[in-house]
Symmetry: C2
Subunit: 100 residues, 2 copies
């Protein structure tokens, strides 16, 4: 499993519109092949900052499957115009820590 992590800075004053658009957009991502779960959270310290966490079965389910899909075009149209600057998206994998 791979966790997609994006810190989303939304144009100031556009938070309510963004939340409405995200509520609509999340059904797009939830229907994709290899999607596992997602959460959108809001930042305590920065009022127009959000954290998007998406679990995918594999890295490619996100980077190739979702980003290469027609549905991604709808996702972009709904959401990308809210971001300033455009977010850096990273992926994280689970770690097997050494035994103590």
């Amino acid at each position: 499993m791979i966790l997609e992590v994006a810190i989303l800075d939304v144009r100031p004053g556009k938070q309510d519109e963004f939340e409405i658009a995200f509520a609509q957009a999340q059904s797009i991502i939830s229907g994709m092949c290899g999607y596992v779960s997602h959460e959108l959270k809001s930042c305590v310290e920065v009022p127009n900052r959000y954290l998007l966490l998406v679990n995918w079965e594999t890295l490619e389910a996100h980077t190739e499957g979702f980003r290469g899909s027609q549905q991604y075009q709808q996702w972009r149209e709904l959401l990308h115009h809210f971001y300033e600057p455009f977010p850096v998206v990273e992926h994280y994998r689970s770690l097997a820590l050494p035994d103590n």
Copy 2:
């Protein structure tokens, strides 16, 4: 519930030592009042980058309880010397998205 989020850049070449130290340090945080759960994950794109996610019952359980505790001094001694630059820690809360 509040999610503490820290992107940890570990000095290059020190990842194995950091993982050993974190395996030891995690018992400190897990025993704190108001601690709920945590995960440490490693970044796919940046080899010496990690993501620490900690769920706390309240913001203050982290910012006052943990950071003001004697145990935090042990945590710092075990971990802080690995970080370059020193991480920015943020907190995120769950969102009630509008109905569609």
